[in-house]
């Protein structure tokens, strides 16, 4: 019995239309000649030209990338450590508090994280004189803190799936626990660490709210620049920027998809190899 689930397929079509019509509309209107962003006035690429000639956009993008690279890397290191701790160290003093501290940022509304970070930085500057001013440093610190817990979640769940016996095997063969971590644990969970890094990177690159609270004069990230523009309404050059973003992300995702497909094929080939080795 294999009746086609017509209703479900229809819903899928509507759902994907809902997902992509706004994005496609935005892309089409990025080629709009009219200054009125929502009224079609003929084809033009002038908004792309104005985007590329805008030094502010370039600077903001560069700052965003620098913050995202640094904060994702630090967040991955800290978050991986925390994930390993939660998955492997069943009993230690303060475990309850620790797991609370790792979960809380996930569900804390961004506004509250934002104002608490800002007040924290201001009071720290007052008491110990650091961080002296707000900008690159404070934004990066805040990003590390709230993106590391996402890495922790990913790493922790991967660690819980992993066969503990392979760590015990390494220990049994003479490796001390910290050697086991470098020789076996980290290589085995490396895909999770990589996806954790990617997630932390996108979260940092995308963040508006926390950045807007923790940044200082002169440190405008790309999302903040867009934020200040769109608060005033729809502007055509943002359409162009959005189109480029979607295209870049789409290409990256497509490449990742092709690579995953290849890995899948390789796995199938290996399985066949193993099967033939059996004979």
């Amino acid at each position: 019995m294999n009746r086609r689930p017509t209703f479900l397929i229809t819903m899928l079509c509507f759902g994907f239309a809902f997902f992509y019509i706004p994005i496609l509309s935005m892309m089409v209107y990025s080629f709009n000649a009219s200054r009125l962003a929502t009224v079609w006035g003929g084809f033009s690429t002038k908004w792309y030209v104005s985007l590329f000639s805008n030094r502010q956009v370039g600077e903001a993008l560069w700052l965003s990338l620098r913050i995202a690279l640094l904060s994702a890397t630090c967040a991955t290191i800290l978050g991986t450590m925390a994930g390993i701790v939660l998955a492997r160290f069943r009993r230690f003093k303060g475990r309850v508090v620790f797991s609370g501290l790792v979960t809380a940022p996930l569900i804390m509304p961004e506004v509250i994280t934002g104002i608490s970070s800002l007040m924290g930085f201001i009071l720290m500057a007052q008491w110990i004189g650091w961080p002296a001013s707000r900008g690159f440093t404070t934004v990066t610190l805040a990003h590390i803190t709230f993106s590391m817990v996402f890495v922790t979640t990913i790493v922790q769940s991967r660690m819980l799936q992993a066969d503990r016996a392979i760590e015990e095997a390494a220990m049994d063969l003479g490796s001390r626990p910290w050697q086991v971590m470098f020789d076996v644990t980290l290589p085995v969970i490396s895909p999770a660490i990589l996806s954790g890094w990617l997630l932390a990177f996108t979260i940092s690159l995308d963040d508006v709210v926390i950045t807007s609270f923790t940044t200082g004069p002169g440190s405008t990230t790309l999302p903040l620049l867009i934020w200040s523009k769109v608060k005033l309404g729809v502007t055509p050059d943002i359409n162009a920027l959005a189109t480029l973003t979607v295209l870049i992300v789409g290409i990256c995702v497509a490449i990742a998809g092709v690579m995953m497909n290849r890995a899948e094929k390789r796995r199938e080939r290996d399985a066949q190899l193993a099967y033939r080795a059996n004979e």
Binding site: I23, S25, M26, L36, L101, I115, T145
Partner: protein, 313 residues
């Protein structure tokens, strides 16, 4: 944590306990310094007194040590109660809509062939990797007074209603309706993905068994699929509701400024009014309000964790 043993073998200590203390200690200290400490400030600030100094608050001295005026205002000033209500209604509406739209999509994803399923899943995640801000912005373009989409809806409305009710355009921007629609748009993947993960694990032979025993597809859904997917519904619902209730960007861009959501109230108190104690009071109240859903979330999280750990054995 363990102190170095008295025999002074530092290396020995490192091998046995030290490395462990280190990887516990570093993230622990980081979170205490950059998350717990600022969070404690918020709680302390909520009972401080606003002063015209910089930073704009005071403890003790001529000010009371504990000043509950902020909390009192939460109940006196209808602005706050209305903001809380708006937040809950908007977030609940968005969650419900996400469920209604997302459930059939997630179920549909489990029914298509393996090959197209991977592509479709990728398409669900793709918007998530693009900028959140730009996704909100895309809807600003659609809902604006003179956009093609608004025009289409206006024409449909004018066609269906008597001529006397005709409008030039449908007022969508800066309404709570717009907030809910954009939340639906931006949070839908958070509903689809956990639901899909849950539905995909279900044993399809149970459906066949039910059909074999005489149930029609709709009954199979009601009796078999739906009850088994409740954990997925709860996970997805909380993943939508919790961030939606504290949302700041969406209400600021497309919301109704005269009935703001609570996130915007906190932000405005803090930056525009420069009233740190009041912003903190509202923040603490928001957190208290969310403690319920959060506990449900962590409860399910730890249950899932325990399950995974058990399967491990």
């Amino acid at each position: 944590m363990a102190a170095p043993p008295k025999d002074g073998k530092l290396a020995q200590w490192f091998h046995r306990r030290g490395w462990q203390d280190m990887i516990i200690g570093i993230p622990y200290l980081w979170l205490i310094l950059f998350f717990l400490f600022p969070f404690c400030i918020v709680v302390a600030m909520s009972v401080a007194t606003r002063t015209p100094t910089a930073p704009p608050f005071g403890f003790g001295g001529e000010n009371p040590i504990i000043n509950l005026a902020g909390y009192a205002r939460l109940f006196h000033d209808t602005l706050y109660i209305r903001a809380f209500l708006t937040s809950i209604v908007n977030a609940a509406g968005a969650t419900l809509l996400c469920l209604v739209v997302g459930y059939p999509m997630a179920l549909g994803l489990t029914r298509v062939s393996k090959g197209s399923r991977n592509i479709l899943l990728m398409l669900v995640i793709l918007p998530f990797w693009t900028s959140f801000l730009l996704r909100v912005y895309a809807w600003m373009g659609l809902m604006a007074k003179n956009s093609w989409f608004n025009g289409l809806l206006t024409d449909a409305y004018n066609f269906l209603t008597p001529a006397a009710w005709a409008v030039k355009s449908i007022p969508m921007m800066h309404t709570n309706f717009a907030v809910v629609v954009v939340m639906l748009y931006t949070y839908l993947p958070f509903m689809i993905l956990p639901l899909y993960a849950n539905l995909e694990r279900l044993d399809r032979t149970l459906d066949e068994a039910a059909m074999d025993l005489g149930s029609k597809p709709a009954q199979v859904f009601r009796d078999i699929t739906l009850p088994q997917s409740i954990p997925g519904i709860i996970a997805g619902g909380l993943l939508v509701f919790i961030p939606a209730a504290g949302e700041l960007v969406i209400p600021t861009l497309v919301g109704d400024a005269s009935s703001p959501m609570i996130g915007r109230v906190i932000s405005d108190e803090f930056t525009a009014a420069s009233d740190w104690p009041m912003a903190s009071s509202v923040a603490v109240a928001l957190l208290l309000l969310m403690v319920g859903p959060m506990m449900v979330y962590t409860h399910y999280q730890s249950k899932a964790e325990g399950k995974a750990a058990e399967e491990q054995k």
